[in-house]
């Protein structure tokens, strides 16, 4: 177990807790840099989704996890960002300017949608944002002069200052870099007064107000910033998906994004990334299992001579091929997470870390005991 002796206020403000933490993040960065060299193009492409969903996750984490405002309409911001970017690219706007414009437009939309949030909370706000998402989806369908309606809109590969991002690996690095910048900027906000004001609004509006937080201003900032990140993610999303159609940005996608932050763990940036890994990598993992389970079990059946195993393997493969199974597994995992680990993957991660840092003294019931002890202390 390590103890941290703090000798300066600066130490509380630093990005990384100490050298060891910085080293781990450094190792992670190196691993991210090396991955494309080790994996095939297909997997590099799938991991790129982690970065794009990661930006979406940070966006929703700011709004839901830190400010405590629920949104069921974030797919709409993603769509606005994607369509705006694709539209500007088609009209010859350079990549950086196009992304900036797309982000600005989503920011403006976010600010407007955030206005009702100044009066509504909880489920009412969720319904208001849901209505917004439905309207925006309809706009994507009908505004054919811009979005090309159901005929769809092709998006070319990004070209930034003459550099072409044609293959999976280069686009992977682009997305990784943008996610890293997003995380850094959000972390900066969270260690400044603005981030603390968001947390204050989440936990007690009345106290936040009495401490000098202008609720209207900081809720609007949260909505605008969240929408801006969503627009940025939308631009990358457009490139990744290569062909935009209105039925991509459905309510289901909004719910999936919300699921991302809940599974990841509300109230932590780690959670946003963990959730992105889960949402982005679950479909390819199911696809791999679908193909490999029957084959693997068939081998076992041949080796042992028990035909039943082969049958089970084929049944599992068939089951995983059925439409809707993926959504079902998503739902099942969501339910299990909420029942078993309300703090999400981030909460689980903290426990694993504690296990190693206190080894061999960790007790499984540490958290439960602490909680019941606190309840015994005439707490409400």
């Amino acid at each position: 177990m390590r103890f941290l002796f703090k000798t300066a206020y600066e130490q509380d403000i630093r990005l990384f807790r100490d050298r060891v933490a910085a080293m781990w993040y450094g190792l992670l960065a190196v691993a991210v840099l090396l991955l494309p060299a080790l994996l095939s193009g297909y997997y590099v492409g799938e991991i790129t989704w982690v970065f794009i969903y990661g930006i979406c996750g940070v966006s929703l984490m700011v709004l839901v996890g830190y400010t405590g405002l629920l949104s069921l309409g974030h797919a709409a911001f993603l769509g606005i960002g994607a369509y705006a970017h694709a539209y500007f690219l088609q009209h010859g706007v350079p990549w950086v300017a196009s992304v900036a414009l797309a982000t600005l437009i989503t920011t403006a939309c976010g600010t407007v949608v955030g206005l009702p949030a100044l009066r509504m909370t909880g489920i009412y706000l969720a319904i208001a944002t849901l209505a917004f998402a439905v309207i925006i989806q309809e706009v994507f369908t009908r505004w054919e002069s811009v979005t090309n309606g159901f005929a769809g809109m092709p998006v070319e590969k990004p070209v930034i200052f003459g550099v072409h991002f044609n293959d999976n690996a280069s686009f992977y690095y682009l997305c990784a870099a943008i996610l890293a910048l997003t995380l850094l900027a959000t972390r900066n906000l969270l260690r400044s007064p603005t981030g603390r004001a968001w947390i204050a609004i989440r936990d007690s509006e009345i106290a936040a107000q009495s401490m000098g937080v202008n609720l209207a201003v900081y809720k609007s900032i949260a909505f605008a910033y969240s929408a801006a990140l969503m627009g940025l993610a939308g631009a990358l999303f457009a490139h990744k998906i290569a062909y935009l159609a209105p039925d991509i940005f459905t309510i289901l996608l909004s719910i999936q994004l919300l699921l991302l932050v809940i599974v990841g763990g509300l109230g932590s940036l780690h959670g946003a990334v963990f959730g992105a890994i889960f949402v982005a990598l679950l479909p390819p993992i199911i696809a791999i299992l679908r193909d490999s389970i029957p084959a693997a079990l068939a081998d076992v059946a041949r080796a042992t001579g028990i035909g039943l195993i082969d049958g089970v393997g084929r049944a599992m493969g068939d089951f995983l091929k059925k439409p809707g199974v993926e959504a079902g597994i998503f739902g099942l995992i969501l339910v299990l997470v909420i029942v078993l680990e309300p703090l999400g993957m981030h909460g689980r991660w903290i426990k694993i870390r504690l296990f190693f840092s206190t080894f061999p003294l960790y007790k499984r019931h540490t958290f439960k005991r602490q909680k019941s002890y606190m309840k015994s202390e005439r707490l409400r």
């Binding site: 947390i199 107000q209 401490m211 005439r378």
Partner: protein, 252 residues
Amino acid sequence: MTFFEADHLAINFGGIRAVDDVSFAVNKGEVFTIIGPNGAGKTTIFNLVSRIYEPTAGRLVFEDRDITRVPPHRIAALGIARTFQNIELFEHASLLENLLLARHAHKRSGFFGELLFLPYVRQMEVKHREAAERVIDFLDLQQYRDALIVNLPYGVRKVTELGRALCTAPKLLLLDEPSSGLTVEETEDMAFWIEDIKNLLGITVLMVEHDMKLVSAVSDRVLALNYGRPIAIGTPQEIQSHPEVVRAYLGG
């Protein structure tokens, strides 16, 4: 110069007149306590002063300035801080973060400066931390510094709320039942801290309190309310033997 004055303050909730024509003045450097039976309108007066409620009539004056129409989030910057009867801490943040949030009224950094965490933002953060650490030292909260509020016992939360109010560097501190839910020892500690706040930090205290022992130990002057109306004002001894006050509490 008037330090703080409530002038013919009144508020109606529907047909109920919760506070009815209450006037009092708090002098700089004193501990002024409002007492009264349940439902007398004590907390309502606090909510009026911190501008959460709109008064139906009357005026609030702080340092010769009319604050009757100041929005609630500006009150902290003027130098008025408050605690809440039913603790309103930011539960899923650490104690230190709770205190730092109280520095919000002293925030001078802009959004984009914070986004890039420019050197001046870093300097401001160090300053905020210095202020918060001074309060932690003052209230002996060092051992709970990095604990989440949800994991802290009730007594410590109560002190944390006091600390959070102090962190705004107030001139006038509003304490809403500082001793409610505390044990006898914790209440005695609270009395010492209130005296220290008055004597060492020179902060004026306006307090709502039920525990007469605490009231007589720390108060310079006491205002007794009943059904939203003031019935007596004076030193703790005068109030305790005032026939109207005795009748309000004991009936008859």
